[in-house]
C-alpha cells in the first residue's frame, strides 16, 4: 500500500479517503461515481449509528427501570446490621430492678431500682445525668407492671397497696438561638446541661429530650393486708380522665380485677380516684404464679403458672367473669421461663426451660370445647439457640421482640416473619441480667445487669416484617383462624399488622385477565376471521378502522362506565346476561343456516351491507329476546332468584352445570357427528341443487342442537347427582362490582388489540393458499378454519398473548370495576384486586422507603416480569411465524 503511486489519490476530492480504496480499481479513478457512493455510504453509516444508539438507549432505559425496581425492593429481604455497640457501668448498682426505659431517639435512658433509686443517663455514653430517689414508702415492692410503651407503671406492695407512676420522655425542638449556653458535650453530637440531652438534627435545629417520672399516692386495692404477688396493667383514656385496669394475684392465689378511674378537677387541680374491685373466680389449684397479663382492652386475663399452665379469664362481661380455659403451653416437666404479649396483645409469646419459644393466638372457632368458644392455639415456633429464653421485650411498633437466652445472647426477632433482626452475644452471665428493653423504633436493644453494667446495641433492619415467605407463602396472622395469603396494607388501628402477601394480587391480575380473555378472545378472533375472510372489501374498510378506534377509548372511561353503568345493569339483568351467552350464538348460527335457504341470486345480491345489517338485526333480536325471556329463565333455572341460588339458598346444582356444559357438549356432538355420521353430510354425487342441501343442513343443525341440549342436561343431572356444584367454585355470592363486569370492560379494551393483530396475521396468509382451498371445493368457512387460521396460528396466538399482556397490566378498569377485594376466589361474581390496581391505589399513600412502598415496587417488578414473559412468548412465537411465512 505504501508504494501505491499518489496521483490516483490526489484526484479524489476529500483527503480522508483511505488509500486502499483509492488503489481499489478503475472505479477509484472516477470521482463522480465515487462521490455519489460516498454520500450514500455516509447516510447509511449515520442511519446505522442513530439506529444503534437509539436501540441501545431503549435497552438501557428498560434495564435501568429494571435495576431501579430491583434496588428499591432488595432492602425488603435484608437482615439486620449492627451499627453500634456500647458497654458501660452505671455509678450505682441497679440491684433489684423495677424498670428500664429508653427514649425514641436512643439518647436518654433510665433505670429504676426497687429501693426507689432512679438513674437517668445518656444511652450512648452511659454518662449519668440525674440521680434521684422516688419515695416508695416503707413496704417493699412485691410486683410491678407497665403498659407496653413503658409510660405508665404500677407497683404493688407487700401491704396490698398499689402506686401508679407516670414516666415520660419529653421532646422539644429548639432553634440554635434557644439553645442554652455552657453545654457539656456527650459525644455522638449530643450535649447536656446536666439534665436534658440536646442533639443536633437536620435542618439546623436541636432536639431536647428530658425525662420525668411522677409517682402517685398509694391506693389500697386489696381487702386485707396481703402482698400482691403479680400484676398486670392496662390504661386507657386521657390523663385528666384515665381508666386503669389492674389484675392482681395475691399471696393466696386470689385473682382480682381492679378498675380505678381518676378525674382531675380542672379548676382546683384536685384528683379523685375511685377504685372498683372485682373478685375473679378462683383458680382450680394453688399455683406458683409466674406472670399475669391483661390484654389492652382488658377483656382477657392470663395467669401463668411456672409449670406452663395458663389460666384464661374471659372478662368481656364484667358482671360474670369466667375462667374460660386452662391451657398448657409447655410440655410436662418443662418450666415457663418467659411469658408476654406482643404488641396488640393478641399474640402470646412463651418460652420454656426446654428451649422452646412459641407464639400462641387466642382464636375463636366452632370446634373449640371451651366455655366461650375461644382457645389458645400455638401458631408458630421459633428456633431458639437450644438454651432457654429468659427475658422478653416486645416492640411497641410491630411484632418484633427481644430475648436473652441462657448463654447471655441477646436476640431480636420478628414475631410474624420470624426474621432474625439482630443477634448479639453479650458474653455476660444470664443470672446477672435484670431488665431488657427494645428501643421504640426497633433499632436498639439495651440490657441491664444487677451490678449496673449496661450493654446497648444499635442495629438497623429496614423491613423486619418482610421475607420471601411473608410475601409469597401462607402466613398465619393473629386473629385469623388459619394460615393464608392475605393482603391488608392498612387498617384503622395503630397496632394493626400490615399483611402484605402478593399472592392474592397476582391471582387477581390473572383472574381478571383470564375472565376477560374468555370473553374477548372468541369475539376478537371470530371478528378477525369474519372481516378478513368473509366481509366484502368495502365493508372491511369500515369495520377495521372502527375496531381500531375502540382501542383509543381511554381505559379510565371504560372503567367508570363499567363501574357506574354496566355493573348495576348486569346486576339487575343478570339472568338475561347469562341467557345471552347461550342465546346470542344460537341466534347467529340459526341466522346463518336460514341465510343458506335464500336463493343464490338473492343471497348474492344481499351479500354486502344488507347481510351485515341483517346480522346486526339478529343480534339485536336475540338481545331483546334474552331480555324478555330473562325472568322466565330465572324462574325455570334458579327458582326465580339467581342471587339466592348463588348463595346456595335455593335450587340444585344441575341448571348451572347445564349451562356450563353446553359449549363442551356442542363440541362433543360435532366431533361425534364428524366421526360417525360423516356420511350424512356428504354431498350426493352430482347434486348441485342448493336448496335441498341447505334445508338438509338446517335440519341437521337443529338435530345437533337438540342433541347437545339433551346431552348437556343429562350430564348436568348426572354430575349434580354425583355432588358436583359450580357454587363455591366458579360461581358464588354475587357482588355488584365483579369479575364478570371486569371481563366485559377489559374484554372491550383488549378486543381491538387482539382483533387488529389477528386480522393482520390472517391477511398475511397468501392469497394462493385460499385459492388452492377454494379450488379444492372447500367453503369459505372451511378455508378459514382449516387453511387460513392454522397458517396464521402463531400470529393469532401472539395477538392473544399481547392482549393478555395488556389485560394483566391494565389498571384503571380493575381499579374502578373490580371492587378491589384481595381474595383468592375463582368466583366470577366476586371482585378481585389486581397488582396494577394495588400499585395505583396505594402508592400515593405509601410512606417513601417504607415497607409498603417497597412491597409496591416489588409488585411492580412482579407485574413487569409477568408482562415481560407474556410479551416475550408472544414475540418468540411471532418470530417463528415470520420465518415460516417466508417459506410460503
Amino acid at each position: 500500500m505504501k508504494d501505491t503511486p499518489s496521483p490516483a489519490t490526489s484526484q479524489l476530492p476529500p483527503a480522508d479517503a483511505p488509500p486502499a480504496a483509492a488503489a481499489g480499481g478503475p472505479a477509484a479513478r472516477r470521482p463522480r461515481e465515487k462521490r455519489a457512493r460516498r454520500t450514500v455510504l455516509l447516510a447509511d453509516r449515520i442511519a446505522d449509528r442513530v439506529i444503534t444508539v437509539g436501540g441501545i438507549l431503549v435497552i438501557v432505559a428498560v434495564l435501568g427501570i429494571l435495576v431501579f425496581l430491583v434496588t428499591e425492593t432488595l432492602p425488603l429481604f435484608r437482615s439486620g446490621q449492627m451499627t453500634g455497640e456500647r458497654r458501660y457501668t452505671l455509678p450505682e448498682p441497679a440491684g433489684q430492678t423495677l424498670g428500664l426505659g429508653l427514649d425514641e431517639y436512643k439518647t436518654l435512658a433510665y433505670a429504676l431500682s426497687a429501693d426507689g433509686r432512679l438513674q437517668v443517663f445518656h444511652a450512648r455514653s452511659g454518662r449519668l445525668l440525674t440521680s434521684g430517689r422516688l419515695d416508695l414508702g416503707s413496704a417493699p415492692v412485691t410486683a410491678q407492671a407497665h403498659t407496653i410503651d413503658r409510660t405508665q407503671w404500677a407497683f404493688g406492695f407487700a401491704d396490698g397497696t398499689v402506686r401508679f407512676a407516670d414516666a415520660r420522655f419529653e421532646t422539644t425542638i429548639l432553634s440554635p438561638q434557644d439553645l442554652p449556653t455552657g453545654l457539656t458535650p456527650l459525644g455522638d453530637g449530643d450535649a447536656t446541661d446536666g439534665h436534658a440531652v440536646f442533639s443536633a438534627i437536620p435542618g439546623d435545629q436541636y432536639r431536647q429530650v428530658t425525662f420525668r417520672m411522677e409517682l402517685e399516692a398509694p391506693v389500697a386495692v386489696g381487702d386485707a393486708q396481703r402482698a400482691i404477688a403479680a400484676m398486670a396493667y392496662t390504661a386507657s383514656g386521657q390523663a385528666e380522665r384515665s381508666v386503669r385496669t389492674l389484675a392482681t394475684v395475691d399471696g393466696d392465689d386470689r385473682v382480682a380485677l381492679i378498675q380505678t378511674a381518676s378525674r382531675t378537677n380542672l379548676m382546683t387541680g384536685e384528683r379523685r380516684t375511685t377504685v372498683n374491685r372485682i373478685q375473679l373466680p378462683p383458680l382450680p389449684a394453688p399455683i406458683e404464679v409466674f406472670g399475669v397479663r391483661l390484654t389492652a382492652k382488658a377483656d382477657t386475663l392470663l395467669v401463668a403458672d411456672r409449670s406452663g399452665a395458663v389460666f384464661r379469664y374471659n372478662l368481656t362481661d364484667l358482671q360474670h367473669p369466667v375462667l374460660a380455659e386452662s391451657a398448657r403451653v409447655m410440655p410436662p416437666r418443662a418450666r415457663l421461663t418467659a411469658f408476654d404479649f406482643l404488641l396488640g396483645s393478641r399474640s402470646l409469646l412463651v418460652a420454656g426451660s426446654n428451649g422452646a419459644l412459641a407464639l400462641y393466638f387466642l382464636l375463636e372457632r366452632n370446634d373449640f370445647r371451651t366455655v366461650d368458644g375461644q382457645s389458645l392455639v400455638q401458631a408458630r415456633t421459633f428456633t431458639a439457640g437450644g438454651t432457654a429464653v429468659h427475658f422478653f421485650a416486645p416492640s411497641l411498633r410491630d411484632k418484633s421482640f427481644a430475648t436473652i437466652d441462657g448463654t447471655g445472647r441477646l436476640e431480636v426477632r420478628h414475631g410474624t416473619s420470624r426474621k432474625q433482626l439482630a443477634d448479639f452475644p453479650t458474653g455476660l452471665p444470664l443470672e446477672g441480667f435484670r431488665e431488657l428493653v427494645l428501643a421504640p423504633r426497633v433499632d436498639g436493644v439495651m440490657a441491664l445487669q444487677a451490678d449496673g453494667r449496661v450493654v446497648f446495641y444499635e442495629f438497623d433492619v429496614p423491613h423486619p416484617e418482610t421475607t420471601f415467605a411473608t410475601l409469597f407463602q401462607k402466613v398465619w396472622y393473629e386473629g385469623y383462624a388459619e394460615p393464608g395469603y392475605t393482603w391488608q396494607s392498612s387498617a384503622a388501628t395503630d397496632d394493626y399488622e400490615a399483611k402484605l402477601s402478593l399472592v392474592p394480587l397476582i391471582f387477581g391480575s390473572f383472574k381478571a385477565a383470564f375472565y376477560s380473555m374468555l370473553f374477548a378472545v372468541p369475539i376478537a378472533i371470530l371478528g378477525a376471521v369474519y372481516t378478513s375472510e368473509f366481509v366484502h372489501r368495502r365493508l372491511r374498510g369500515v369495520i377495521k378502522p372502527t375496531m381500531e378506534m375502540m382501542a383509543s377509548l381511554p381505559s379510565v372511561v371504560l372503567g367508570f362506565v363499567a363501574a357506574l353503568v354496566l355493573a348495576p345493569v348486569v346486576e339487575t339483568w343478570i339472568a338475561a346476561v347469562l341467557l345471552a351467552f347461550v342465546g346470542l350464538p344460537l341466534a347467529l348460527m340459526l341466522g346463518a343456516y336460514l341465510w343458506q335457504l335464500l336463493p343464490l341470486h338473492l343471497a348474492n345480491r344481499l351479500k354486502g351491507i344488507p347481510k351485515f345489517a341483517l346480522m346486526l338485526l339478529s343480534v339485536l333480536l336475540a338481545a331483546w329476546a334474552t331480555r324478555a325471556l330473562g325472568p322466565f329463565f330465572e324462574e325455570l333455572f334458579f327458582h326465580g332468584d339467581f342471587r339466592a341460588w348463588l348463595n346456595g339458598d335455593v335450587g340444585g346444582a344441575a341448571p348451572f352445570l347445564f349451562l356450563l356444559l353446553l359449549p363442551l357438549c356442542a363440541l362433543a356432538v360435532s366431533i361425534l357427528q364428524q366421526r360417525f355420521l360423516a356420511g350424512l353430510r356428504q354431498r350426493p354425487a352430482g347434486g348441485l341443487e342448493a336448496l335441498p342441501r341447505a334445508l338438509g343442513e338446517l335440519g341437521l343443525w337443529l338435530l345437533r342442537a337438540a342433541l347437545t341440549f339433551l346431552l348437556a342436561a343429562g350430564l348436568a343431572h348426572l354430575l349434580a347427582a354425583l355432588g358436583a356444584d359450580a357454587r363455591g367454585g366458579l360461581v358464588g355470592t354475587y357482588v355488584q362490582r365483579n369479575t364478570l363486569v371486569v371481563g366485559f370492560a377489559m374484554g372491550f379494551a383488549v378486543i381491538p388489540i387482539i382483533y387488529t393483530i389477528a386480522e393482520d396475521a390472517l391477511n398475511a396468509v397468501p392469497e394462493h393458499l385460499r385459492a388452492a382451498s377454494l379450488g379444492c371445493g372447500a367453503t369459505l368457512w372451511q378455508t378459514a378454519l382449516y387453511v387460513v387460521l392454522p397458517t396464521a396460528a402463531s400470529g393469532v396466538f401472539s395477538a392473544v398473548m399481547i392482549g393478555m399482556g395488556r389485560a394483566v397490566g391494565e389498571t384503571m378498569i380493575v381499579v374502578m370495576a373490580a371492587g378491589n377485594t384481595p381474595i383468592l376466589d375463582w368466583n366470577i361474581f366476586n371482585g378481585l384486586r389486581a397488582l396494577s390496581a394495588t400499585i395505583a391505589v396505594e402508592l400515593p399513600e405509601a410512606v417513601k422507603d417504607g415497607t409498603l412502598y417497597r412491597v409496591l415496587f416489588l409488585a411492580g417488578l412482579v407485574l413487569f416480569a409477568m408482562t415481560f414473559v407474556i410479551n416475550t412468548v408472544a414475540e418468540i412465537v411471532r418470530q417463528r411465524f415470520r420465518r415460516r411465512a417466508t417459506q410460503l
Partner: protein, 273 residues
C-alpha cells in the same frame, strides 16, 4: 349472473378446425363474455372441450387464458364488479345458473395453479384436504386416497416414507406434483391447469408432462401454457387466444402446422408473443 350485457350480434369470427374427440364434449362454452368492471376481458368465446382429452389454451400474455380457465370453476366469483354474458355448461347444466352450488361445482373440477401452492401441512394432509372438506373421516379411505392420488401424480415413490412431513420441504417440482395429486384426490371430472410448469426446471417440467400424458383419458384436462412445444407435446386440441378472443381452435396438430389465421401462425412460429 345478474347482468346480461349485450352480446355482439355477429357470429364469432373464430376459425374452427375439426377436433380430436370420440366421447363428445364435457364442457360447452357458448358466446361467453366477461367484464372486469368496465373492462371486457373475454369476447364472445365459444368452444367445446372434449371429454377425456387434453385441451391447451395458448396465447400472448394478458389475452385472457387464465380468466377463461378460472371461469370454468367459477374462481372468479369473488372478484368485485365481475359481469358475465353467455353460458358455460358442464354436462349440459349451466354452471352460472342461479341455483347452482358453486362448491359442488368446484369439487368436480380440480385446479392446479401456476405457482405450486401446497398447504403448510403434511404431505398426506395436503392430499386428503379435498375429501376431508367433504366430510370424509374414515382413516382407511383417507389412506387409500393418499396412495392412489400420489401414485397417479407419480410422486408416491419419492414421498411414501415421509407422508407426515411438511409439504413445504418438497422441491418445486415435487410440490407441483403434490398439487396435482391434491387436485385429483377427490376424483374430479375435469382438471384445470394454469401454466403448471412455468415455475419449474426442464426436468421437472418433463415429469409433469409425462404425468399429464398418463392422466389423459382418465380426466378431462384444460391446460394453459406459454410453452409452444409443451402445448404441441401434451395436448389433443388447442385454442389460440388473442385479446380476449379465441382466434383458432382445433386439433393441436392442425393449429400448429396449418393455422388459418395469420395471428395464430405468427404466434406459433414465434414471430410475436
Amino acid at each position: 349472473m345478474p347482468d346480461t350485457p349485450q352480446v355482439s350480434p355477429d357470429p364469432p369470427d373464430t376459425v374452427y378446425h375439426p377436433m380430436t374427440g370420440a366421447e363428445g364434449s364435457i364442457i360447452e362454452i357458448e358466446r361467453f363474455n366477461l367484464w372486469y368492471g368496465d373492462k371486457q376481458a373475454l369476447f364472445d368465446n365459444s368452444i367445446d372441450i372434449q371429454m377425456g382429452l387434453v385441451t391447451a389454451l395458448i396465447g400472448p400474455s394478458g389475452c385472457g387464458k387464465s380468466t377463461l380457465l378460472r371461469s370454468l370453476n367459477r374462481m372468479n366469483d369473488l372478484i368485485d364488479g365481475l359481469r358475465l354474458g353467455g353460458a358455460i355448461r358442464l354436462d349440459g347444466a349451466d354452471i352460472y345458473h342461479r341455483d347452482i352450488d358453486v362448491i359442488g361445482l368446484r369439487k368436480r373440477m380440480g385446479m392446479v395453479f401456476q405457482k405450486p401452492n401446497p398447504f403448510p401441512m403434511s404431505i398426506a394432509d395436503n392430499v386428503t384436504y379435498p375429501i376431508k372438506v367433504d366430510g370424509v373421516r374414515d382413516r382407511r379411505v383417507l389412506q387409500e386416497t393418499v396412495e392412489r392420488a400420489l401414485k397417479a401424480a407419480a410422486l408416491w415413490e419419492e414421498v411414501k416414507d415421509r407422508l407426515r412431513d411438511s409439504a413445504l420441504g418438497l422441491s418445486g417440482g415435487q410440490q407441483q406434483r403434490l398439487c396435482i395429486a391434491r387436485a385429483i384426490a377427490a376424483d374430479p371430472d375435469v382438471l384445470l391447469m394454469d401454466e403448471p410448469c412455468s415455475a419449474l426446471d426442464p426436468l421437472a417440467t418433463a415429469k409433469i408432462e409425462d404425468l399429464i400424458d398418463e392422466l389423459r383419458g382418465r380426466y378431462t384436462i384444460v391446460i394453459v401454457t406459454h410453452n409452444m412445444q409443451q402445448a404441441a407435446r401434451v395436448s389433443d386440441n388447442t385454442a389460440f387466444m388473442y385479446l380476449g378472443r379465441i382466434v383458432e381452435y382445433g386439433k393441436t396438430k392442425t393449429v400448429f402446422t396449418t393455422p388459418r389465421s395469420r395471428r395464430t401462425e405468427d404466434y406459433v412460429t414465434g414471430r410475436f408473443g
